[in-house]
Symmetry: C3
Subunit: 415 residues, 3 copies
Amino acid sequence: MTEPTVPPTRDELDLRAYESRLTRPVREKAAELQEGVRLKHVIFAGQLWPQLLENLADTADQIRVMSKSRPGQDFLRDLLANKRAMLYFTQPSTRTFLSFTAACQILGMVCNEVRDASTSSEAKGETRFDSIRMFSSYFDLIIMRSPLARLAESCAYLMNDLERSGQRSVPIVNAGSGADEHPTQALLDIYTLQRTFQFENPMDSPVSRLDELRSSYGYSDLAKGLSDKTYCFCGDIGRGRTVRSLAMLLAEYPGVRLVFVTPDHEKLRMRDDLRQRLMQKGVPIFEVDSLEASVNGKPVIETLDALYMTRVQKEHDTADDAAAMAQLDLTPYKLTTTLVRRMKAYAPILHPFPRDQHFGEIPAEIDADPRAMYFRQARNGMWVRAALLAHLMDADGQIDRYYHRKFHERHEYSS
Amino acid sequence: MTEPTVPPTRDELDLRAYESRLTRPVREKAAELQEGVRLKHVIFAGQLWPQLLENLADTADQIRVMSKSRPGQDFLRDLLANKRAMLYFTQPSTRTFLSFTAACQILGMVCNEVRDASTSSEAKGETRFDSIRMFSSYFDLIIMRSPLARLAESCAYLMNDLERSGQRSVPIVNAGSGADEHPTQALLDIYTLQRTFQFENPMDSPVSRLDELRSSYGYSDLAKGLSDKTYCFCGDIGRGRTVRSLAMLLAEYPGVRLVFVTPDHEKLRMRDDLRQRLMQKGVPIFEVDSLEASVNGKPVIETLDALYMTRVQKEHDTADDAAAMAQLDLTPYKLTTTLVRRMKAYAPILHPFPRDQHFGEIPAEIDADPRAMYFRQARNGMWVRAALLAHLMDADGQIDRYYHRKFHERHEYSS
Amino acid sequence: MTEPTVPPTRDELDLRAYESRLTRPVREKAAELQEGVRLKHVIFAGQLWPQLLENLADTADQIRVMSKSRPGQDFLRDLLANKRAMLYFTQPSTRTFLSFTAACQILGMVCNEVRDASTSSEAKGETRFDSIRMFSSYFDLIIMRSPLARLAESCAYLMNDLERSGQRSVPIVNAGSGADEHPTQALLDIYTLQRTFQFENPMDSPVSRLDELRSSYGYSDLAKGLSDKTYCFCGDIGRGRTVRSLAMLLAEYPGVRLVFVTPDHEKLRMRDDLRQRLMQKGVPIFEVDSLEASVNGKPVIETLDALYMTRVQKEHDTADDAAAMAQLDLTPYKLTTTLVRRMKAYAPILHPFPRDQHFGEIPAEIDADPRAMYFRQARNGMWVRAALLAHLMDADGQIDRYYHRKFHERHEYSS
């Protein structure tokens, strides 16, 4: 990129200094980002594991029950009222930004934001690391979204280094870095699936009685939980970081099958590295070009237990990409009411949102179907992000104690 | 606009779907926006009626008294501390935005904002309705200002539809939609007139003793309240949505006369629809081209009970408009100290602000006159918006009980 | 600037109206900005004096001790929870903005912001004074940063005039006005020096035992406090408003010597007015072109008690300036590890930050040196700004009483 005669900037040197730590195996890096079984920083989805996901879902469930009453709300809002959060979003995002903001506010944290790098001190030649240290001087938590892959990860290591030298350090949460990682999106996708596959609450499960599903609907093998299910991803797999992360997390559950429905275009179909990582885990994966394609003798649309639709991310298109895409027939990657009718009665439709009204991967006609879980999914994101922040700030134990004191006993008696 | 071969966007379809509801008579629409005598959404000034305006003024008065003491402030700030507001302002406005923000904060609500549609998910092809549903997922109240006429109204119907289908719904407050409606501006104008025509507080009433006004000043017929008065609007009537709304509300009070002082230009003078609606109500209206013009045998400036000045809204000018305006003599629509001297001693001067320093409809020399009520009017806006939010969120009853417990008895004994 | 035929705008008239008050001697102006020994508005560094700086440092120290415990944090957050602050920043600044925001939040104040004049009512022809009066209608404190020299000062006088006429007035804090004044930066610089020269806390003082410094290190004359020390400023003195303000404040302490290390360029070296004001105070000043230059027979770098580095403010460069600067050898104005090794063991390195990674006045290699106080300095800024706001809002007395009740006695017993 730079001519050999131009000396590297401090920013480049800073990132180079972390190069060897950034390229370590995920397992080794994850270890540096946690303390015992608790996360210190949340950087990539690979840090999450099924037991932790269960705990976070429990905390999220507790928070949402507590949020129904004024005393519960007041308890939650007092928990982290002494903490100040910085949302450092140099890549635009309304949805993720607002979801995190609401999550902070549920726990009483005041939110502060820097959203435009050009108005910040970076314009005066400040390094990114100096900016991050400034934020960590004034605030107690940094939630960051950046177009720069691995910036959040480097910042987490910077914080660890500062801590080791006796200086102030705060947790870093990655709210999306480049085309790379978006761990909390994966977290809310998993949480939505966890709620749906509890088959308990009609708001979360299109059909909420498991015995009825087994007998009347004939899904005799159906069991609670994320294991032993077929998950289908449809659309832009290659550039959808949320798909990458979610697929990797699902691969941790036994008996999971993954189906990827994409056009045969190198930018859109699954990338090699993801395919290899999934195969190393021994997960059966199927790559087809239509929701009607046959997998194990039946059309995908009829066998899937959950359908994850995505938007074709045109904002990442080069001019060549756009020309190539224009040649593709993308009709098979749009959901229709006819297709939805063929889906299993309980199978949720997810979408990381926003959906694209011009492309139309999910027409508004489908919104009224009880399997349309995408609006619910957005609100789930707020609750599970609040749970994650409570975990990071060591407040989940207090939530659990309050919940059991006030709600659980009553619940046990009444159920 | 669109060629017949281009299919309509989802956004267009969404608005069309509400077309039949948007075009119903005001009375019918207002019914859908309230529940009994309480407002569910605040969309247009036509939803307000004199008794409700009295109640809101009472709540506003109570809030401002309570805000003078720390215990009162603390009580207010606790009221809605469990609620989160979204201010969705895609049409720029500092004044209305800050006024609503302060109103929310008085009641303890945390404010969140989206002000630039281009940074939001709309740039990724999200429909406006999907955006609104996202906001309603995370927040408890949406205050919106949009260049699109009737968007707020459509959003209110969307919320009602969601509520009917058992889904989450939150109140919508219209903080200005296109050239169309700005109901809370009308509300604060009315509140300012209510305070002034109480003739009680010297801060609100240029002359605050009614008996003195009747005897020494010779206004023998003068009575408290908004009825039986002459209201004069001066300047840009055609494009001033605040004038439209306020005039319609004043028309509900008996004995009201309305004078409109505008240049004879089709963009600036009263629009036909407003004229017709006022005439249907049987309100005497006078349209003249100068504050010196004679109405019922006396110059307007000497007979008016309240003067509402406006800014010529050049930002709505087309190139043709600008050329036409340049030909007009706009001097008669600027207030002068000489004119103010001829006004009645108690007649307040209002202005929706900002005033235009380049046009100069109210020169700064007039600010020191006790009849200049425009700065007071701005602060009134904060109090009455807080009252409106308290009403919407069902907290006005608690305010009333606290007020009577702590203040009113003392007040009754002392007066 | 304007042709003689163009009438002045209201904004210009407003500022002209204050001209005679703006050009008064500092002492006279300072008197109008305070009430007894308390500040009403904070506009320029010349308002601060050593005893006030001691008091503010004491309050800042108390706040930071109280902030270590949850009860202390809760006490602080309740103090001004009934107040709303407006941060009106039309000159971009992330660092100062966030520092003030955090300071407000420590004391429980809700922060509101207007950062872009173009989105505000000013675009509709509103005068700056009308904008400020709007802010003072809704909020209880205005913290402002403007590219316009003396705007903050004019606003303070406007508030005083309003107060005199019985109208609402709020404190104004200048967070930087043009190339002119930045009093709270000087305040935090002084506070950092106060902490360092206490020789008590190892976080603040590179060597924290004064007896050890006197005996083992041979600084036999070294005493606590800011007096009797040599302060060295290096880099862009001419355009650094922080240097101007800090130098003037240091001149109030007895036995202070000031050394200015700058290239010989009229834009970068000390301006005549500062030189004259310092000489009038009788402070020994030395102007040299290198940190190696000899002052009183020894190289500056070895004799200084504190080193204040600055960034060359290229954003103020004209094209001619840039060309002239390109000819200069700026190497002597960059710190190196070799130079740092020659500094006194206790001498802190300060920098108003951001530092410039491209210029490199302080390379990152120096960050680990215990004398590198610039990150600490940033956090100090938050504490001392909180102290200043507490002073302005009359809450410092409450802090002092709480502190002595809860902490001081314990501290006295334990030490």
